[in-house]
């Protein structure tokens, strides 16, 4: 391993600009003469717009334009789309209600977009919006996930019973048979609470129209600028792709919420031509709560069939997934192919059958949030196996071991083919680090202090790098999920790598450069990673689903292979040797068995000077591109163990210990990987203990600020204990599995298994806030007293 190569904890290249205040986030971009957009949003969860009068607003001071859904329709601007087609059990296509960027006659959630006001200053835009008169006929709102299908009110004409689809996976008959043969059946009901992603940088957009070129530029907080351009161009109809440039500069966190194509950027870029000035929109935090796509929101009933020895025979699951008022960009894939395909967990389960009904409600759209479907699956599998162990009087670690998949590749009953793993190894290592042996003593010691101590496991599995493209296409994806890369070697030997991935905290400028540095022997400071601009990078699929290591870096490997092959040809001419005799190592080309050598930078220069080789055989220049399509998903897995201590008098929970042992395959930069795990765990603990989006019965979001939505703070969390095991991923050239989401996937189950262990009842729901925990603790104490 070199000091900066694969496996080294290299300090991040990108940090210099962030720690000195020189980052360039979308709101930091200032365009000459830019003006401000303010969206008038619906205060009602469900209403017909009887009258919309914008005359007074148009004449307000500083106002340059006021636009409504009619203006978009007149310009033939299409609605927002959902790019993954799901078919119901009966073969019918999912019911996608129209999703206009600005309302057309009806609003369907609090925060829905009614009109936009563009003015010289933001204050004037806001003041202008106050002058818009809207006459709403308020309709009853559908809020409850489980009750949506029975509600009398229907959100979209195309969707009877507010049902988007009724989908199923697995073998129903085989699963019934497994239950018929069961010695023990464990049943649980679970709610996976609705979360708000809350990247610290709120969404923002600046649209600008250049009349000379007839072209638009959009700066936007996007995890995937090329996909944004494709959707804005091909589906929404802003402009042809060659007349639309999308730039995603520094982006302050995404966690899924910045994958999607929203109303605001659509309107900002469109309106820039209308008003003839660049248009800037920046979300405030309340708007973010109201209109960013939310995450999770499942209601699930699950049953696990076991034989007498604790071997799992079958699993059946029924989930209702709330997708909110409209289908967001990838929403339909989340509770289906990203969820139910992981219901086998780390276990060899012969038969699985899962049904998922997706429903519309008068709430913000729900889509992918860190983990997207896999946290929900892990929560079901890991909560039910822990519960089963308790019911059967078995040790939860032993029960897991008994059922682990041991032979690879392993075909699950729900599509996935696990390619590599060693689940026993990560469990053993986690138990050692967490000192599970000493838990009994710690529990007794806590009891003496009047505290309830509990321990919970989560042996999770997830799937990253959604792939291969053909396979996901057959499952309904509207896009392929490959990645692109271009490696440009400059004449002086410095290197630019253009990638279709996008970084918004993951550190690609460092890790991708590590790969290039190791392969070409070029120092880190001579390598630039270029991303996030559709005028620079030709095309790419962006960053989500922990795909950028496994897929994005694999594309770079392919391009590097081509660069090396071409450079060898040039080197052969320079060294007057045959190409077959050229070796390349540590930045030097040598001729086998001689001391003749030439440095990489010299080869680069000569490739451009082109004096020393016949250009009829070798083209001048040194620049290669590649597209990489993975051969399979990757399957990161591991074991997290959480230990909690509860004060039954106050309901306050302390995370006393948190251990994570993960198998991510090969690690490029352990420091960065650990950081990803820390952040994921914090979000998972947040889901379990503090976070939850709450709508009241009329559809008002009660948790629309940091006063009401409890983000985990530093003093809610401990320092985490991490460990790694490694089985190389056979499905990509670097052996990488992906690490961005594991923490958020594993943690909720680990925490809740610890909470239920401490409290002695399974009846604890997320978020287990002090008030909720106090109630459970009190009723448990009453029960104990009565016995």
């Amino acid at each position: 391993m070199t000091k900066t190569g694969i496996g080294a904890s290299v300090k991040r290249k990108e940090d210099q600009r962030f720690i000195t205040g020189n980052g360039q986030y979308t709101d930091d971009v200032s365009r000459p003469g830019h003006v401000h957009a303010y969206f008038l949003r619906s205060p009602h969860a469900h209403a017909v717009i009887r009258r919309l009068d914008i005359a007074a607003a148009k004449g307000a001071p500083g106002v340059l334009g006021v636009f409504t859904g009619d203006d978009l329709a007149a310009d033939k601007i299409g609605g927002l789309i959902c790019g993954w087609m799901i078919h119901s059990k009966d073969g019918s296509a999912m019911k996608a209600g129209a999703h206009p960027a600005l309302a057309q006659g009806k609003v369907r959630y609090v925060g829905d977009h009614v009109a936009v006001v563009i003015a010289e200053t933001l204050a004037e835009a806001r003041d202008g919006a106050e002058k818009i008169i809207v006459d709403y006929e308020v309709l009853p709102a559908v809020i409850d996930t489980a009750g949506a299908q029975a509600a009398k009110t229907q959100l979209h004409d195309v969707a009877p019973r507010n049902t988007v689809f009724e989908w199923a996976i697995g073998d129903k008959a085989a699963t019934e048979a497994a239950f018929g043969a069961a010695h023990h059946v464990t049943k649980i009901d679970l709610v996976n609470n609705r979360l708000v992603p809350n990247a610290m940088e709120p969404r923002a957009a600046i649209g600008e129209y250049d009349p000379g070129q007839g072209a638009y530029t959009l700066w936007t907080t996007s995890q995937n600028p090329h996909v944004a351009r494709l959707v804005l161009s091909a589906f929404i109809g802003i402009a042809p792709e060659n007349k639309l440039r999308v730039i995603a500069p520094d982006v302050g966190g995404g966690f899924g919420s910045k994958i999607f194509i929203y109303a605001e950027e659509t309107v900002a870029v469109w309106a820039s031509k209308k008003v003839g000035r660049p248009v800037k929109w920046v979300s405030d935090r309340t708007e973010a709560f109201l209109s960013d796509a939310h995450g999770r929101d499942h209601v699930t009933h699950a049953e696990l069939a076991m034989d007498a020895k604790g071997k799992i025979l079958g699993l059946r699951v029924k989930t209702i997934a709330n997708l909110g008022a409209y289908l967001s960009t990838f929403s339909s894939s989340v509770p289906t192919y990203l969820y139910a395909t992981l219901l086998s967990g780390q276990y060899d389960i012969p038969a699985i059958y899962a049904e998922v009904d997706a429903v519309y409600t008068n709430t913000a759209p729900v889509d992918a949030y860190r983990g997207a479907g896999r946290p929900e699956a892990t929560f079901v599998v890991e909560r039910i196996i822990e519960t089963a162990a308790r019911q059967m009087g078995l040790d939860p670690a032993d029960l897991r071991k008994r059922n682990f998949v041991r032979k690879f590749p392993h075909q699950t009953p729900v599509i996935m083919m696990y390619d590599a793993g060693d689940y026993r190894a990560s469990l053993d290592k986690a138990m050692e680090i967490a000192d599970v042996k000493g838990f009994g003593k710690r529990k007794r010691e806590a009891a003496r202090r009047g505290r309830l101590r509990g321990l919970g496991y989560s042996t999770y599995i997830e799937a990253c790098g959604i792939a291969p493209s053909q396979a996901v296409g057959s499952l309904g994806a509207g896009v392929g999920l490959w990645e692109s890369a271009e490696v440009r070697v400059n004449p002086t030997g410095s290197v630019e790598v253009l990638t279709g991935s996008h970084a918004h905290g993951q550190g690609h400028e460092t890790t991708f450069a590590q790969l290039v540095s190791e392969r070409l022997g070029v120092p880190m400071e001579s390598i630039n990673i270029v991303h996030g601009d559709t005028d620079k990078v030709q095309f790419g699929m962006g960053t989500y689903g922990s795909r950028s290591g496994a897929v994005g870096m694999s594309a770079i490997v392919k391009a590097l292979d081509k660069v090396e092959a071409k450079a060898k040809k040039v080197a052969a001419h320079l060294l007057e040797a045959s190409e077959a005799d050229i070796d390349f190592k540590d930045g030097k080309f040598t001729v086998k068995g001689t001391d003749k050598s030439v440095a990489f930078a010299d080869v680069a220069l000569n490739a451009y000077v082109a004096h020393k080789f016949p250009t009829s055989e070798i083209e001048p220049g040194l620049k290669e591109g590649a597209f990489y399509d993975p051969t399979n998903f990757t399957f990161p897995a591991g074991c997290h163990i959480c230990e909690v201590e509860i004060d039954p008098e106050t309901g306050v929970t302390e995370i006393a210990n948190y251990t994570a042992v993960d198998d991510f395959g090969v690690l490029i930069n352990p420091m960065i990987v650990e950081g990803q795990v820390h952040g994921g765990i914090a979000q998972g603990i947040g889901q379990a203990l503090t976070e939850g989006a709450v709508y009241d019965a009329s559809g008002q979001l009660l948790t629309a600020s940091y006063m009401d939505y409890c983000m985990p703070r530093a003093d809610n969390l401990p320092s985490f204990k991490l460990g790694f095991t490694e089985t190389r991923c056979p499905s990509n050239p670097l052996g990488i599995k992906g690490c961005g989401e594991a923490g958020a996937i594993a943690a909720p189950a680990a925490v809740m298994n610890a909470m239920t262990d401490a409290l002695g009842t399974e009846a604890v729901t997320m978020p287990a806030t002090p008030q909720a925990v106090w109630k459970v603790a009190q009723s448990q104490q009453k029960l104990a007293a009565a016995e």
Partner: protein
């Protein structure tokens, strides 16, 4: 409609005297970001909770989203852009890089300004105290683990620096 009345404001920002005529309602963060184009100070919320906007006013950490520019009349304001000495980073900036105390970087300027304030007030506090002191700064990326490590290291470095100065 009448022009919104403006008032004259003068202060020192990162060692430079600046003055402007501003609408009275202008927040310090607006003046810094829009007026002076010092965009390192960020806005992450509208309820004074996230701390992305923390700057120093007369040597104390202040949420610049919660103070009017006019309240800083005559004050010494320091933002993240003023923390380093030329190319030489402040020890707290160094510590954040060294300990991977940032990911997306959005909370970072506010975190670092808060951290410097913690060090100035408390010297070298323990982990528990650092965590409690961070109550007003939210980070969504790091889980705080490495931020806490960075602040601990930064505080130690700053204390050493003071000893050095005292010894000289």
């Amino acid at each position: 409609m009448a022009q919104t009345p403006k008032i004259a404001v003068a202060m020192t920002v990162n060692g430079q005297d600046v003055s402007a005529r501003l609408e009275a309602r202008t927040l310090l963060v607006q003046y810094l970001r829009e007026g002076l184009r010092l965009t390192g100070t960020h806005v992450g919320c509208d309820t004074s909770q996230c701390g992305a906007c923390v700057v120093h006013v007369d040597g104390k950490a202040v949420k610049s989203c919660t103070i009017l520019a006019s309240q800083c009349e005559g004050a010494q304001v320091m933002t993240i852009e003023g923390l380093a000495h030329g190319d030489k980073l402040h020890p707290m900036q160094e510590a954040f890089r060294e300990h991977h105390g940032l990911q997306c970087g959005f909370c970072t300027p506010g975190m670092i300004m808060t951290a410097v304030d913690i060090a100035q007030r408390l010297g070298t506090p323990d982990e528990h105290t650092i965590r409690e002191e961070l109550e007003g700064n939210i980070c969504r990326c790091t889980g705080y683990h490495n931020i806490v490590k960075a602040i601990d290291a930064g505080c130690q470095e700053m204390a050493k620096g003071q000893h050095r100065q005292a010894a000289e």
